[in-house]
Symmetry: C2
Subunit: 221 residues, 2 copies
DNA sequence: GTGTATATCTCGGGG
DNA sequence: CCCCGAGGTATACAC
């Protein structure tokens, strides 16, 4: 990784045009070639950047970084205050818990926490509007579409409504009903869901991880 | 700005839980107090971070950064390879030339490219759900709501649907119909638009700039 | 590759 | 203060 502290001026042209007037900033060049320009205030993310792969040309007091899509980042240096290189080596990636993907996986393994007797037909069931998180069947044989969210808000209700409208056009599935499953559901989302005849279930994440630990014994496949 | 290169391990708990195993990384502390952990590869944005305002406690080989919302970032150091501070001073912000805003402006000047005989009543027509990009009238006198997007996706159809539902409650405007205008529209968005009786128009941005150049002569106001 | 959905989204504007 | 909308969104994942 190369770290340059310098008074510079930056121009980006590509998907839009952006300009940074002359000031002191940090320029970070990572091992994969991506370039980021940081100021000392404001945000954790860079003001301007160029993702890899790109082509960096170091000219006379000027860097030109361009990529295949025709985007260009030009950094014009007035004064370089510091320029250092560091060998960081490979680093293992970030492991995340508690994102929607994991919630979906946990629910797919334990759909009964949503409703007694529910079983999963498919995850990511495709429709021509996009994939339904979980397609299930209840003990009576009715198909149930489940939309999984970390936080249940109006968007989730809209999404579930779209899918149901689509699923119910398929005579092999109809009538399909819907469940919005989330760790927390806002009152507005509940109201809209109720108006559309959709069920809401709040899911206790920690309890679900407990269930996962026990499920293999309690519900052998 | 403080830049620390170190072998470290990072744990974030808050809106989710995330863990970075021991490896060499860059830790950036900006003047406003925000902390970011960068690896040497992958992305231009940090793996882990904590936005300002927060509270940083430097302990024995360990930093604990926490904020009012109860989020916590813990960095445990094994070996510090470099630790430097730089005074960058204030920097002027980023100036952008937007894209959707310009597309909207171009269409407002040449609504007839969307549909023969269309004229603009108002840009950013306010509703209590948000502003309608373009409110137009067709030759028959019917009001037409236009949602302008750079890329036409399902979100845009939902947005237009909400606005239309709102506009059609106003007897002075109803019945209002809708057009989704974008440089490119996905098949799924077309499907949903068709199901809702909304029109889709793909707009050639460059051609539109041509029209703008010619319009003053061809279509004098 | 295309397209959808998520994100510790971030960031800004308006009520 | 929240809500909404846009982002050079980036990123992951399925078809």
């Amino acid at each position: 990784m190369r770290l340059v502290v310098a008074r510079c001026e930056v121009v980006y042209t590509g998907r839009l045009s952006a300009h940074l007037p002359m000031a002191t900033r940090l320029i970070m060049v990572k091992a994969d070639g991506c370039v980021a320009v940081h100021s000392d205030e404001g945000a954790y993310k860079p003001l301007n950047w160029m993702t890899a792969p790109n082509h960096l040309v170091e000219g006379e007091g000027e860097w030109v970084v361009s990529n295949r899509a025709g985007e260009k980042l030009v950094i014009r240096f007035e004064e370089v205050l510091s320029d250092s290189r560091h060998v960081l080596g490979p680093a293992p990636g970030l492991a995340k818990d508690g994102v929607e993907a994991e919630l979906q996986r946990l629910l797919a393994d334990a759909p009964f926490v949503l409703e007694e007797g529910l079983s999963v037909l498919r995850r990511e069931y495709p429709t021509d509007l996009g994939p339904v998180d979980l397609l299930c069947r209840d003990p009576s044989g009715q198909v149930v579409a489940v939309e999984v969210k970390r936080r249940g808000e109006i968007d989730g209700v809209e999404q579930l409504t779209r899918y149901l409208e689509r699923l119910n056009r398929d005579p092999a599935l109809a009538p399909v009903r819907g469940i919005l499953a989330a760790q927390a559901i806002t009152p507005q989302a509940r109201t809209l869901a109720a108006a559309r005849g959709l069920a809401c279930v709040e899911v206790d994440y920690d309890a679900l991880r407990e269930v996962e630990g026990n499920a293999p014994r309690l519900f052998p496949v």
